[in-house]
Amino acid sequence: MNEILKASNLSKHFGGLMAIDDVSFSIYEGETLGLMGPNGAGKTTLVNLITGKYFTDTGSIQFMGKDITRMAPYKRCKLGISRTYQIPRPFPELTALSSVIVSALYGKDRSNQSLDDAGYEATHYLEFCGLFSKRNVLCKDLTLYELRGLELARALATTPKLIFVDEVMAGLNPAEATKAVRLLERAKEEFGVTILWIEHVMAALMKAANRVVVLHYGKKIAEGLPQEIANDPLVIECYLGSCHV
């Protein structure tokens, strides 16, 4: 498998708090990499570093052999990095269709694409996520489950190579969560995307992930196959509360 993303010695601090401390890992093309860790472990910060919301203090990030450490977020998106948010962040005053159109138009350099063409393309992604009937509904009027679907549609419309999925199951009931996981699996199959999946629900992650990386207090404490991680004494200690890294 080809290495799609390589993060080397990433560090980030906010004032006196070391949010990410010398973290290195790689993501391989076509895999689903799980990112685990207790609350405040630095999972979302790590995603923010890779997608460009924050710049790293030290270390480097390479995406498909290209250094993107200091690259603006929109350029990273055009290269093929997309994300969803832990707490959905829709464009509240736009309709579902319009908000996916934004991604379809700007996610790649398509200077000749018209608004209508982008509309047709966006329709495809909305339909994939089961939101076609909601296309003309304002995003602020959608339910949480629909917003999760919309976030995925928006991310897929940028035609990414790598998607960061941040706690897709948070706030959903078991039936909705199962549907959301199935949707992610289908997205991987149909669009051939690589996924980095942050999740608290271990059962789902253990089933879906090819490999798992575990963070604790900003440090990487384990990396390996899901079964290895599940049996790792350090990971168990961290989750049960007696671990100090």
């Binding site: 998106c77 464009f91 700007y106 509309g119």
Partner: protein
């Protein structure tokens, strides 16, 4: 010749020929009807009530300021409280060039454009660097600083008296006819601005502006070059507003900062924006006419008290109609948010 009103239909017979026009509400949205009405209004005023012409000119100019301001507000995601700065810049550029260099209006227009572009580009980084409230405060401050400058450098700007002797926009010998032509010119400018901004709002560019307005960070994560869009959305409207300043200077023949730069004028422009609907370009026309006529009505009815009552009425309207007059329509037709896209499955 025969005119017949049928159900949902207007039938016009001329000899053997028959013309039909549907009057269903959905056909009322044809913008040509409203453009036609706006053109007819100053012509009617010219023949029947010429004293109304300055109010119509005012209404069109207010709308012409508010329309680009809507674009600026949407594209930067922030409320600019100092659009009158660009009126001042364009107006003074035109006035100074006209008085000292004896340039005709068509040449001073170029000067106003260049000065507007310069200040627009100079200040556009504000939209990137400063957050919502700071941006608002800074934009509020600039016209006041400019006003102070006009008082300090009286040899250039002539302070409170202002610059006079500016070449008139047009002179055909008759004052009323001049007013009519200027009124139609102001209307043309407003319609041109509306056409430009409407085109922008219906283009692929608009989706990025709407995304920036809603959430800059997410827009950037979805591939929108937020900084570029903000600079464009700041600079072009600034130039458009500067041209309105040029129009004011040549229309009145005098230009004083004290008329346009203080908060009272800003309040009027922002009210046009708010009454019409914050970023509704068609609403700005409704707002412009509403404010201009309300001001006229108050001056005629209550005279001296109008400066006090005018803002109070506007504040009440703001409280009762937070989304503006156009917002009332929008609430009932929320599917028509621009861009309106009709998709096939």
């Amino acid at each position: 010749m025969e005119l017949e009103v049928k159900r949902e239909k207007l039938v016009f017979r001329f000899g053997a020929q028959k013309f039909e026009w549907n009057i269903e509400p959905r056909y009322w949205r044809n913008p040509l009807i409203y453009v036609g009405l706006l053109i007819v209004l100053p012509i009617l005023a010219y023949f029947f009530y010429p004293t109304l012409l300055p109010t119509l000119i005012d209404a069109n100019l207010l709308a012409a300021i508010a329309i680009p301001l809507s674009w600026m507000t949407l594209g930067t995601g922030r409320m600019n409280f100092g659009p009158q700065f660009y009126i001042g810049a364009g107006g003074y550029a035109a006035a100074l060039c006209s008085i000292h260099l004896h340039w005709p209006p068509q040449v001073t227009l170029l000067a106003a454009l260049i000065v507007g572009l310069f200040f627009g580009l100079l200040m556009s980084p504000l939209a990137i660097l400063s957050g919502g409230l700071y941006y608002t405060l800074l934009t509020l401050l600039f016209p006041l600083v400019f006003l102070e400058i006009t008082f300090i450098y009286t040899d250039i700007f002539r302070g409170e008296v202002g610059l006079s002797g500016i070449a008139p926009l047009i002179n055909v010998g008759s004052f009323t006819l001049n007013q009519l032509i200027i009124g139609l010119g102001a209307l043309l400018m407003m319609l041109l601005y509306m056409f430009i901004v409407d085109k922008v709002m219906r283009s692929r560019f608009s989706t990025s502006l709407a995304a920036i307005n809603d959430d800059e960070e997410v827009a950037a994560a979805m591939g929108v070059n937020v900084n570029k869009m903000k600079i464009i959305s700041f600079t072009i409207p600034a130039v458009m507003i500067a041209v309105v300043g040029w129009f004011y200077a040549h229309y009145y023949g005098t230009f004083a900062g004290v008329t346009y730069l203080p908060l009272t004028f800003m309040l009027k422009v922002l009210m046009v924006n708010m009454i019409g609907g914050r970023v509704q370009i068609y609403g700005n026309v409704v707002g412009g006419y509403f404010i201009a006529f309300l001001e006229l009505l108050l001056i005629q009815v209550i005279g001296d008290y109008s400066p006090v009552l005018f803002p109070i009425i506007l504040l009440i309207l703001l409280l009762t109609l937070p989304e503006g007059l156009f917002g009332l329509y929008r609430k009932r037709h929320y599917r028509e948010y621009l861009p309106t896209l009709h998709v096939r499955r």
